[in-house]
């Protein structure tokens, strides 16, 4: 394959770099890269890898574009609200560079389909937003001996490295052998994220991807970059393969994909329902509205943080953030015999608060499923969603 006249123009700034040149550009054009997630990290990755002329880009994402994505997911635009992220990204890349063939996988990646999807690609980039998918991507890449370019973000901090067990490097399990207990590490939706941050971390991943495809430079294998945007500091930590790692260690015990939801302690949907029914009663947002309208006697407790309360609140709620509930539980002493209905943003933190208060002898705690987000959706759209 020879570069066309148009391609020579398009890639001229690459072609005059001796480290890339015509051979390197041809190599990029025949490379296949899979992006897990087309969100914060996936957006800059897809844009820059597409512009660089990576011949085939696979996009895995089951989600649709939401207005709250646009603060950081720069590949998507207003005209794509409510439509699949992978289709939005595909359209943008088609406009940017017709040399790139985009393969969309509009589904969640699971233990059932992961090996089949990953097999078709040279490099996998992990830009997902949850622990089960991170362990799944890690294990699948190690089993298929493919490099896994890892990046993750939270609030003002980011991490990036390359896991490449085929070249003797460590894997994600060498870094974090066990996932944190469910709910202990908030997601970006719960904890927030600086919109620019995924741009920085995503483009570190993109840089590593191009270097691996071209075989130039020294890769991040064995080095974890820990980025602090507030201090504007990059810290580099040496990461070693753990000889006891169950996946890439000397005596591995993992030879196939497992159930990652279970591994991360996330109950299956039906179990979850049962557990919540027996443990903590739940009500919907409209049911809460009905209780308020009927002037029933109960305490409505909001366990979000003060700055979230300042954005939006349910009228009549008392604020006591989950982060201080252990220290300030005494303030609820007068309500011990009363029904306490608890809400947060989406229902996760309030469930933790319910469990804590129950353990402290508050017997009539009730969780509001879906939190204030469900309230905005189903009861009062004038309460802002954030």
């Amino acid at each position: 394959m020879e570069l066309s006249r148009e391609q020579i123009e398009r890639y001229s700034r690459h072609l005059i770099l001796p480290e890339i040149a015509v051979e390197g550009q041809k190599r990029l054009l025949s490379s296949r890269v899979l992006l897990i997630g087309t969100g914060g990290l996936g957006s800059p990755l897809a844009l820059y890898l597409g512009a660089a002329g990576v011949g085939k880009l696979g996009l895995v994402d089951f989600d649709v574009v939401d207005r709250s994505n646009l603060q950081r997911q720069v590949i998507h635009g207003l005209s794509w609200l409510g439509k699949p992220k992978v289709e939005s990204a595909k359209a943008r890349i088609a406009d940017l560079n017709p040399d790139v063939q985009v393969e969309v996988h509009r589904e969640a990646i699971t233990s059932k389909n992961a090996l089949e999807i990953l097999r078709e690609y040279d490099v996998v980039i992990d830009g997902t937003d949850n622990f089960p998918t991170r362990y799944l991507t890690n294990d699948a890449c190690a089993l298929l001996k493919k490099p896994n370019i890892y990046g993750s973000i939270f609030r003002f901090d980011g991490q990036a490295t390359v896991f490449d067990t085929a070249r003797g490097g460590p894997c994600y399990r060498c870094l974090y052998p066990e996932p944190p207990p469910p709910g202990m590490v908030p997601s970006c939706a719960e904890g927030g994220v600086l919109g620019i941050l995924p741009g920085i971390i995503g483009l570190i991943q993109a840089t590593e991807c191009i270097k691996i495809l071209l075989g130039i430079g020294s890769s991040l294998v064995g080095r974890l970059i820990q980025y602090d945007s507030l201090a504007m500091k990059f810290r580099e930590l040496k990461l070693r393969r753990d000889p006891n790692c169950p996946l890439c260690g000397d005596n591995p015990t993992i030879h196939e994909l497992i159930d990652y939801e279970q591994f991360c302690g996330i109950p299956k949907p039906d179990e979850k329902k049962e557990e919540q029914q027996t443990m903590i009663p739940q009500i919907t947002a409209p049911e809460l509205k009905a209780k308020l309208d009927a002037k029933e006697d109960f305490l409505l407790l909001d366990v979000r943080e003060q700055h979230e309360y300042d954005i939006a609140r349910i009228p009549g709620a008392t604020l006591l953030p989950l982060s201080v509930i252990q220290q300030r539980v005494g303030e609820l002493e007068d309500h011990k015999g009363r029904e306490i209905v608890i809400h947060c943003k989406m229902g996760g933190r309030s469930m933790q608060a319910c469990q804590f208060l129950q353990s402290q002898g508050f017997s009539k705690v009730v969780n509001v499923a879906g939190g204030i987000t469900a309230w905005s959706d189903q009861v009062d759209p004038s309460v802002a969603k954030y």
Partner: protein
């Protein structure tokens, strides 16, 4: 015997501590002792087995020995993307 160390917090620990970095005089002999001391003061929600500790830019075992002037970084997992 006490020693002065520089402690840095990432992710959820930064929020729970209320700052990203601090100097501290401590009697803790190991990163594990130091983490327990800090967790007791600030109510950290994560157990040591859920995070990693680095000393002077190298990952360390929790029971390694702390020295005067060490830079200790606690790194919890983050999953956001």
């Amino acid at each position: 015997m006490t020693r002065n160390v520089r402690v840095q917090y990432f992710g959820i620990l930064r929020e729970q501590r209320g700052c990203g970095e601090e100097s501290r005089e401590t009697g803790a002999a190991s990163p594990l002792d130091l983490y327990r001391e800090l967790a007791g003061e600030h109510g950290f929600s994560l157990d040591p087995e859920n995070l990693r500790v680095a000393v002077n830019d190298e990952f360390r075992d929790w029971d390694s020995i702390l020295a005067e002037g060490d830079k200790v970084v606690f790194i919890p997992p983050v999953a956001g993307g």
